[in-house]
């Protein structure tokens, strides 16, 4: 078992998940609650990584993270071929899954509840924390889990921007690729099993979240 790759994978996924949450949650709120020009454009751009070849996403990321990209030019962040680049690649690919799910969950929250909270004297922040998020958290968590699992399995874009350096950027999917190339099938089998188990567990949990959500909605219907 390549423990180093597993540890790195979890580290990359954790940071990617944090990035997705910070970017994705405000985006989901915006898309669920505001009507603005260009909303379709934003959604389409956001969903592109779902359908583009990973090499295309990786290529764009190379441009953005590269020496003439904004991160280096403005902040001096040299992320290419570090695990940080892997985290960013994973986040970009997982983000649409979070936003789609979180947006749907937020849109399901009756806007009258937020308006009622406003008339009761709550600020916008307090309404978000005490009404919107508590009511949408199941859908948000489900989306986050789904996105994290996608991030954990990221391969193509990661290979392009972070490379495949054992101990530094080699995540589990990359390690599996190496193992198969080197005909180390026992090693590959073990890692494949771990990946499959993690993905299965994640999807199982997501399903449970969604099931409890629809059950709760039935209970809440005032006309039930």
């Amino acid at each position: 078992m390549n423990w180093q790759a597993l540890r790195l994978s979890l580290q990359v996924t954790a940071v990617a998940t944090l990035l997705m949450l910070v970017v994705g949650l405000p985006l989901a709120l915006l898309l669920a609650r505001r009507r603005f020009r260009g909303i379709t454009l934003v959604e389409t751009l956001l969903n592109l990584p779902l359908v583009l070849p990973p090499t295309v996403v990786g290529y764009y990321l190379l441009v953005v993270l590269g020496r003439r990209g904004p991160l280096v030019q403005w902040f001096g962040w040299q992320l290419l071929f570090t695990w940080g680049a892997a985290a960013i690649a994973s986040a970009v690919v997982g983000l649409p899954l979070l936003v789609v799910s979180a947006r749907a969950a937020i849109a399901e929250v009756n806007p009258n509840l937020e308006r009622a909270a406003a008339t009761l004297g709550l600020s916008d922040w307090a309404i978000l924390w005490r009404v919107t998020l508590p009511l949408a958290y199941r859908g948000i968590l489900a989306g986050l889990l789904l996105a994290a699992t996608r991030a954990l399995g990221e391969f193509g874009a990661t290979l392009m921007v972070a490379g495949n350096i054992p101990g530094r950027t080699q995540t589990l999917p990359l390690a599996i690729y190496d193992a198969v190339q080197n005909r180390a099938y026992d090693e590959a089998n073990r890692m494949v099993l771990v990946m499959t188990a993690l993905a299965f567990l994640s999807l199982w949990t997501v399903r449970r979240f969604e099931a409890s959500r629809s059950r709760r909605d039935r209970d809440e219907s005032p006309y039930a």
Partner: protein, 363 residues
């Protein structure tokens, strides 16, 4: 009129709809009455600050919430600073919180617990404090919603169709509750409804809305008997409206005398001999088949009548019939009803003025 507490004069414009409202009210219950789509809810939203008017002003107890003149300079107080209690039509209770937590939602500090307890008691909800909204009946949810709106000691209470989804007995109970609350708290209340019965049950003054305009504001009976224009007359005008005298109020029903015709209405506590206004919707006047047994639902209030008018209408038929007391009633029914009855002008029929549908509006 009592001393004015709310002065509102504003215009709201949103996607093709224009709402113009000009009203002032004191410590009273004002009923905002009109068909759906006439702008009643938008008026409440503008007062609460959930919708922004394009110009005008809103002043409550001397404090300006909104002001915008021709020069475009705008004063705007957000909803959370207005202290206006708002009971939404769907109640908008927080589904993830118990009744007690809903009521205490806006409160904090040492004042919170006793205040919540007091409101639970006042609204007869103490035994339901730990229930979640989905575990409460419609009437109970309604009382939680009112308690929650009262928790922050509002200066104005807005109620949007508060009793629409409730059955008659609960509605009457809550209406009574609302009147005593109003009395206790000295609180101006705006009550939106499209049901005339509700307006009569709780209202002191009536404001009639039509297509985004306030057509008439005044004491209920005055608006009712002297509608300012054809719109108001059409909105509040109901066929089969009549004056009757109470003969006897019993537990099983209210006996009325309508110019010599004795009718039974649902029970209501009214003194003997008092004059009341009552009506029955044309859909609730039934024609009896002479050859069929009479079912329980149409046993009371049978009246012989003679048909004076017979007309096909979109969606059915309209019949006018003269009763033995000289008055006429309107009857409306669907296109496939009474097809086997030989109805014709001048023909004699037996009608039933459905007891349950006979609405007594009060004096």
């Amino acid at each position: 009129m009592p001393e004015p507490r709310l002065l509102a004069d504003f215009v709201v414009e949103r996607s093709g709809f224009r709402l113009q409202v000009s009203l002032h009210m004191g410590t009273e219950i004002l009923v905002l009455f009109g068909p759906s789509g006439s702008g009643k809810t938008t008026t409440l939203n503008a007062l609460a600050g959930l919708v922004a008017p394009v110009r005008g002003h809103i002043v409550l107890d001397g404090e300006t919430f909104f002001a915008r003149g021709e020069d475009g300079r705008t004063l705007w107080v957000p909803p959370r600073q207005r202290r206006i209690g708002y009971v939404f039509q769907d109640y908008a209770l927080f589904p993830h919180l118990t009744a007690a937590d809903n009521i205490g939602f806006a409160l904090r500090g040492p004042e919170k617990a006793p205040r919540v307890r007091e409101l639970l008691e006042r609204m007869h909800l103490s035994h339901l404090a730990d229930r979640y909204p989905h575990q409460l009946s419609g009437g109970q949810q309604q009382r939680v919603a009112i308690a929650r709106a009262l928790a922050m000691r509002p200066r104005l209470l807005l109620l949007d169709e508060p009793f629409a989804a409730l059955d008659v007995a609960i509605r009457q109970h809550l209406q009574h509750d609302l009147l005593s609350l109003h009395h206790e708290l000295n609180l101006p209340i705006i009550y939106v409804t499209h049901r005339l019965e509700d307006a009569f049950a709780v209202g002191q003054r009536l404001a009639v809305m039509h297509e985004g305009r306030l057509e008439q504001v005044g004491p209920i009976t005055e608006v009712f008997h002297h509608p300012a224009n054809a719109h108001v007359a059409a909105i509040i005008g109901i066929p089969n409206l009549f004056q009757a005298r109470v003969i006897q109020a019993q537990a099983d029903g209210l006996w009325l005398d309508w110019a010599g015709l004795t009718l039974l209405a649902p029970p209501q506590a009214l003194p003997h001999g008092v004059e009341v206004t009552a009506y029955i919707r044309p859909e609730d006047v039934k024609i009896l088949y002479p050859d069929r047994p009479i079912v329980e639902a149409v046993r009371d209030n049978q009246v012989p009548a003679r048909i004076v008018e017979l007309r096909a209408q979109p969606g059915g038929h309209l019949v006018r019939a003269r009763l033995p007391n000289g008055h006429e009633v309107e009857i409306r029914y669907g296109p496939h009803t009474y097809t086997t009855l030989p109805l014709q002008i001048g023909g004699d029929v037996r009608l039933v003025l459905r007891r349950e549908a006979l609405v007594v509006l009060g004096t």
